[in-house]
Symmetry: C2
DNA sequence: AACGGTACCGGCAACGTTACCGGTTTTCCC
DNA sequence: GGGAAAACCGGTAACGTTGCCGGTACCGTT
């Protein structure tokens, strides 16, 4: 019930002015060492904590970063931990909001965080999002903003992401090198940038190896296990079924794996499978699934670092984009020649 | 660069006082309908947004809840989504901080959130935490606080949690009913409340079925897969090895499963296995692992609801504790008699 | 004509903090 | 010993908002 002490209280008790107290606590210049000692002693005694709200109001910064993510699945939660790590270090507190892949929710979150007067945003956009006015509003107000992971050309901002195209490329090329000929891809929603990039990588690997693209082997489905399961069933029911599948997420790879197993096909002999993200779960299933690894933690850290730079150097960082390289982890689901 | 508009700007443009503008925007009483219309029109035009910082400073509330969790693994991230859901609905924004199971980090997070002047806390304590002064400080300041999931008697506060004892009990009793005789338990760190409760359940199930507790079958190990793997290896190397294992988390169950498989034992024939949390991954491994389900989403929602109640009714809610009931999902790893 | 009531509005203070300016005292130097 | 600089301190305004109080103008009633 007793209110927290303010510099006013300290000033009153010491019979000095609030200005002096303020200086004593902060600056050290223009204040008698004696006085300063007395103030600090009282600060200790009363357990005085500066009121951040008042400070924020005055200084117009809250030392808070708004983070908006579509969800908190494995990859994103690791990224968020990376962000957290760096932000905490730099003296920022992080407000994490989940949009639940919902456009409306994303707008609401943005508004709320804007209301809370965060110093800036670190954003990964929802898969449902097709227009970006709510984010552009942030930029119009000259509030720093960094996007990560789910990056889109439609939203011009400093960004950190994986080289998704390369990810798609190395996964596909690996399958080709293993001797697979008809490689299908399970992609995500059509407007999802990471999905399209990974598919571009897939396509250019095919091209490099002079394989004609077959539209029947390109399947778009929702970013989850069940849809991937059904989509795979359809793929396997084709007259000329694919002999390998590349999925743009591990969750989808799991779905595909289940469908493949249900059909009685063996991996890697009858069909090859490569996922994306390298989540721990891919090592737990049978067969273990090859997967493209993005170092999620590093991406998160890089995003936060880039954000902090953007805050400090006030120049325009709009064009900056950091692109991290993926790495393929080859496992049972696609390693045909064990002696290779 | 252009600063956001304030009521002062509106007042100036309309040649009225800020008080009137304030009233026009808010209260509607004591203000000419004409004036009000003009004000609201200008509000629209300038896209005026009240400065929450100033409001918070005045009203001494921020409409922000600080959430501290030890990590963002599957279960907790689902709980957090539950909290988020309810909080958003009620007009609160959530600040999520991860302690990373670190005591020091937890203290730092608490201080940061306290500095940010959150309206209250929803907390799940870190496994490393043995003293609770940092949380008691919150209570001393009369700031509402609800604990969830990782609850401890050492910290008296309104709480929401699973009936962990019942969870341990039903898991163990199930194994007994399947005919297993020597049931080991892989528990977590000794100071972790949820671990101890689940173990209590385990013990009372043994007792009910008149089975002597065997200290060799009670293993404490760190809350993760690798430790569980090694601990299980040791268990299996015993002269009289257990014929079933109950682990207090699925992550540990996975570790145990790997050790069991490596040893060449079959589940459920040679050895039974039951985990806890019912994470999706238990259905993906072979064999599928039986697990005790807590409805994590519901726990999160309940925690947020309880928090909001605590905020509103200012009476003392210290004693309140909500306990949700677990449910066992029986799968291949422990279902000996398939026809049962 | 005097009074009371209502509708409407503006000024002041306050929330907790700091930047800035101006003032007084002390110290130092030639 | 006179002047200047340094050391120290307090007052004021401001950040954006609202609660409270007081004031004016107008209306209707007796």
């Amino acid at each position: 019930m007793n209110k927290p002490p303010t510099i006013k209280d300290i000033a009153r008790q010491l019979n000095i002015s609030v200005s002096t107290v303020s200086r004593a606590i902060r600056n050290a210049t223009d204040v008698n060492p004696e006085t300063k000692k007395a103030v600090l002693a009282l600060v200790e005694e009363l357990n005085y904590q500066p009121n951040q709200l008042a400070l924020s109001l005055r200084n117009k910064q809250t030392h808070t970063i708004g983070v908006i993510v579509p969800n908190l699945d494995y990859v994103l939660s690791v990224m968020v931990r990376g962000i957290d790590e760096v932000a905490l270090e730099a003296g920022y507190t992080v407000m994490i909001c989940q949009s639940n892949e919902s456009f409306g929710r994303e707008i609401l979150n943005t508004r709320r965080l804007l209301d809370s007067l965060v110093d800036g945003f670190i954003i990964s956009v929802s898969s449902e999002t097709k227009t970006f006015d709510h984010f552009k509003k942030i930029q119009e107000k000259n509030i720093p903003m960094v996007v990560f992971d789910r990056v889109t050309p439609a939203l011009v901002a400093p960004s950190v992401r994986l080289d998704n195209e390369m990810g798609g490329f190395i996964a596909t090329e690996h399958l080709l090198e293993q001797g697979y000929k008809r490689i299908a891809i399970l992609a995500g929603p059509k407007n999802l940038g990471i999905s399209n990039s990974r598919m571009d990588g897939y396509l250019s690997a095919l091209k490099k190896h002079k394989i004609k693209k077959d539209d029947d082997l390109i399947v778009h489905c929702d970013f989850n296990q069940d849809y991937a399961f059904f989509a795979t069933q359809e793929l396997l029911a084709m007259k000329k079924r694919p002999d390998a599948i590349f999925t743009i997420s591990d969750r989808m790879a799991i779905g595909a794996m289940l469908a493949i197993k249900k059909k009685g096909l063996r991996m890697p002999q009858d069909i090859g499978l490569v996922g994306f993200n390298n989540e721990p779960v891919v090592c737990l299933v049978t067969p273990q699934i090859s997967s493209v690894d993005m170092s999620a933690f590093e991406i998160g850290k890089a995003a936060a670092k880039l954000f902090i730079e953007t805050m400090h150097h006030h120049e325009d960082m709009t064009g900056v984009e950091q692109i991290l390289k993926p790495k393929l982890f080859i496992r049972e689901s696609s390693k045909k020649n064990l002696n290779k």
